[in-house]
């Protein structure tokens, strides 16, 4: 242990970027921004600080990812912080979505402010909370200690509860309350599991006493752990972190929370926070597969994945609120990731990890577009929104691209990873599960498109939409609302055709980590 830590420190010292420092500053940047917002208490300064912090975080994450691709696991503070390819992969959406959400917030929250829905206090609370939220999520992939990871995930719950209840409407309070209760109970189950894992590890190798909760040791010694304890522990972790990841049947808080939160926050919750929990599941999946063999964990993942897709498919078909429909679609996509992990093999895991990235691009795009649309039309009820393309042409087009991508239409990015997941299922002999997956994908497709197409192209018949058309005023709500969506839509299209080499290498390396390759 000492030797390898020494070695990594030595290598880190040789790296030009100084990755050890980067791992610390990537946490300090949002913390500093949150403190600055809380102290200065000016709307303009808060927006600028948040955007600057998000930009700096994105640059630092780029540096860290480059370091990981170069082939080493990064580590700092005597292995207290650690980052390998899997962690780096999860970090990209945190930084990326964090940045576009900060950009989108300026316009979205600015309009809420002008309309008097929020006041100065709310704005300050929003931006301070936004930065702390990014900070807590950033700790998750960096923590080597599973206990610290748990503390960080619980902290994300607490911060995001505050962000969800920003509007203090009845709906927001109800959503925040359910979320707080369900997520906290779920996470306490997860901690039971984590402690059991650590107990199994410390009894298997007593020399690890001081670092018995660290990923690095548990990964390496997975085969030595007592299978009976690991089995119980994995079930606890899967149920617990699965609650936070929105995997059915523990997803009940999710549609409420994602539906009631301010749209940029919905984007972060759906595009990033769910991944942080999935990341934890994947990590423990490595250990459980090592200790029990792959069949038990993968059967669980396939079962829960199908259940999530099934419940989501039914709910998407009956949803009336635009943001709730998107939230159920998140449950569906978490189900797809879980299924792909369960199918396993190189292709399955590649599909799962690529899908994490793809969903983190397409879903924030949808939440941004729906946020802008609901501000313009003054409602989130889908049957009252008609003819977006006439009233706000750019947003309508972007919403259409995002919507087609999210239901898995070629040639967009989500299609690629869904196709790979299906291929791995059939190749791995899971014909029944893969066929069920196709069926559910078709169902979601039908339910989603049935709502999307009339919203974008439909003729306004009555109410708000008709009034809007009457004015004949085309207004896409400003460049700052459009820009983040254009960035995301471009990625949705590009990743459908072409995968940049660094991303490919990173996912490959991350698959190796999930397959239990010894971390260098």
């Amino acid at each position: 242990m000492m030797m390898s830590g020494f070695y990594v420190d030595y290598v880190l010292g040789a790296l030009p970027s100084g990755s050890g420092t980067l791992m610390l500053t990537v946490l300090l940047t949002p913390a500093a921004a949150a403190a600055f917002v809380a102290v200065t208490r000016r709307k303009r300064l808060a927006e600028a600080a948040t955007l600057l912090s998000a930009l700096l975080v994105a640059m630092q994450v780029a540096g860290l990812v480059a370091g990981v691709i170069a082939g080493t696991r990064l580590s700092a503070f005597g292995d207290f912080l650690s980052l390998d390819a899997l962690g780096a992969l999860v970090m990209i959406p945190i930084a990326g979505v964090g940045f576009v959400a900060a950009l989108y917030s300026i316009n979205y929250m600015g309009r809420q402010y002008e309309r008097g829905i929020v006041d100065d206090r709310h704005i300050i609370r929003y931006y301070a909370g936004f930065n702390v939220f990014v900070l807590t999520m950033m700790v998750v992939p960096l923590a080597n200690n599973t206990g610290l990871m748990w503390v960080a995930i619980e902290a994300t719950t607490l911060v995001s509860v505050l962000l969800i209840m920003l509007y203090t409407t009845e709906g927001a309070i109800e959503a925040a309350w359910k979320y707080l209760i369900v997520a906290t109970v779920g996470l306490s189950l997860a901690l039971f599991g984590i402690v059991l894992f650590s107990y199994a590890y410390s009894t298997a190798s007593p020399s690890a006493a001081g670092s018995a909760m660290n990923w690095t040791g548990m990964d390496a010694d997975a085969k030595m752990l007592d299978p009976a304890i690991v089995k119980v522990a994995f079930v606890f972790v899967l149920v617990g972190l699965g609650t936070k990841a929105g995997i059915a049947p523990m997803h009940t808080w999710l549609p409420d929370a994602h539906g009631e939160a301010p749209s940029p926050v919905s984007a972060l919750l759906s595009g990033v926070l769910l991944n942080c929990a999935i990341y934890g599941v994947l990590r423990f999946n490595i250990i459980a597969s090592g200790a029990l063999g792959p069949s038990f964990p993968s059967e669980l993942m396939i079962g829960l994945g199908l259940l999530s897709m099934g419940i989501a498919a039914a709910s998407v078909c009956f949803a009336k609120d635009m943001k709730r429909m998107l939230a159920y679609s998140s449950v569906e996509h978490m189900g797809i990731i879980s299924l792909a992990v369960g199918f396993g093999g190189f292709v399955g895991l590649f599909a799962a990890l690529f899908h994490i990235i793809n969903h983190a691009i397409a879903k924030p795009l949808m939440f941004f577009a729906s946020g802008t649309v609901s501000q313009r039309f003054g409602t989130k009820t889908m049957s009252e929104i008609r003819g977006i393309i006439k009233v706000m042409p750019i947003t309508g087009a972007l919403l259409l691209v995002g919507g087609l991508a999210i239901v898995g239409m070629p040639p967009f990015n989500v299609f690629v990873s869904e196709f790979l997941a299906l291929a791995s299922g059939f190749a791995g002999g899971q014909v029944l599960a893969a066929s069920a997956m196709i069926l559910l994908l078709v169902l979601v497709f039908a339910g989603f498109i049935r709502q999307l197409v009339p919203m974008v192209f439909g003729r306004p018949e009555s109410g708000k939409s008709a009034q809007l058309e009457g004015t004949e005023r085309k207004d896409d709500m400003g460049a700052l609302a459009i820009l983040p969506m254009v960035i995301l839509a471009a990625l949705v299209v590009i990743l459908g055709f072409y995968m940049p080499q660094p991303l490919q290498t990173l996912i490959r390396e991350a698959v190796r980590v999930v397959q239990g390759a010894p971390s260098s």
Binding site: V151, S188, Y199, T203, A209, G259
Partner: protein, 223 residues
């Protein structure tokens, strides 16, 4: 392991269970808070016993922190933030499950916990500490959960969460003998912040809905 120590362990485990039943049988918010405070004092004492029997100094630190945060800060905070809430909103007048039946179910849950720990961890060679505290910690979890789902007032759900959290803390300490003080401090900090946030939510809820009956939280639906 001396007999005195074994007796202490058994006694503190029993004390924790008694305190938990204190929450089950009471209807008023002040009653739950004082039962929770009593439970936290016993929890701190149990942690100190674990520290004494293992000889790790940082477990004593965790015991002191537990006492300060859970027996002093959190109960005071809860009482203080609910001063403005009317008395009848704090009373569990009409729980989903009657108090008498709750006691019976809780007793069954305790039996279930002992059975579960025996079954699931049969292959693990548990030491005296784990044997005494693990079933109790699982009972705390179950009873906390049961208290949350069987009562209506939001305040009671917070107390249920805190009991679950106490169970977790005991579970962690008993099984790993306090692996890392930093983590335990982190868990305590999360609990403290959680109480503050639920207090804010509770205040908002009583202002917006004019009730703390969680049965009235049913606006968000798909149909």
């Amino acid at each position: 392991m001396t007999t005195l120590l074994t007796d202490l362990i058994t006694l503190s485990a029993a004390g924790l269970l008694v305190a938990t039943f204190g929450v089950v049988v009471r209807r008023s918010f002040t009653g739950w808070v004082s039962a929770y405070r009593y439970q936290s004092v016993v929890l701190a004492a149990s942690t100190a016993v674990v520290g004494y029997s293992t000889g790790f100094w940082d477990i004593y630190a965790a015991a002191v922190l537990t006492f300060v945060v859970k027996a002093e800060v959190i109960p005071r905070l809860l009482v203080r933030v609910t001063l403005g809430v009317e008395g009848d909103l704090k009373m569990e007048a009409n729980p989903y499950v009657s108090i008498r039946l709750s006691v019976l179910i809780s007793a069954l849950l305790v039996a279930l916990s002992y059975g579960l720990v025996g079954q699931l961890l049969a292959s693990a060679k548990l030491d005296v500490l784990a044997q005494a505290y693990l079933p109790v910690s699982v009972s705390l979890f179950f009873i906390g959960l049961f208290a949350m789902v069987s009562r209506r007032t939001a305040l009671n759900q917070v107390v249920g969460l805190l009991i679950i959290e106490n169970g977790l803390f005991l579970f962690t300490t008993a099984l790993t003998h306090g692996v890392s003080l930093i983590i335990e401090v982190g868990i305590l900090a999360d609990a403290l912040v959680g109480v503050v946030i639920s207090a804010i939510l509770l205040t908002r809820m009583s202002q917006t809905f004019d009730t703390m009956d969680t049965g009235s939280l049913e606006k968000l639906k798909d149909d």
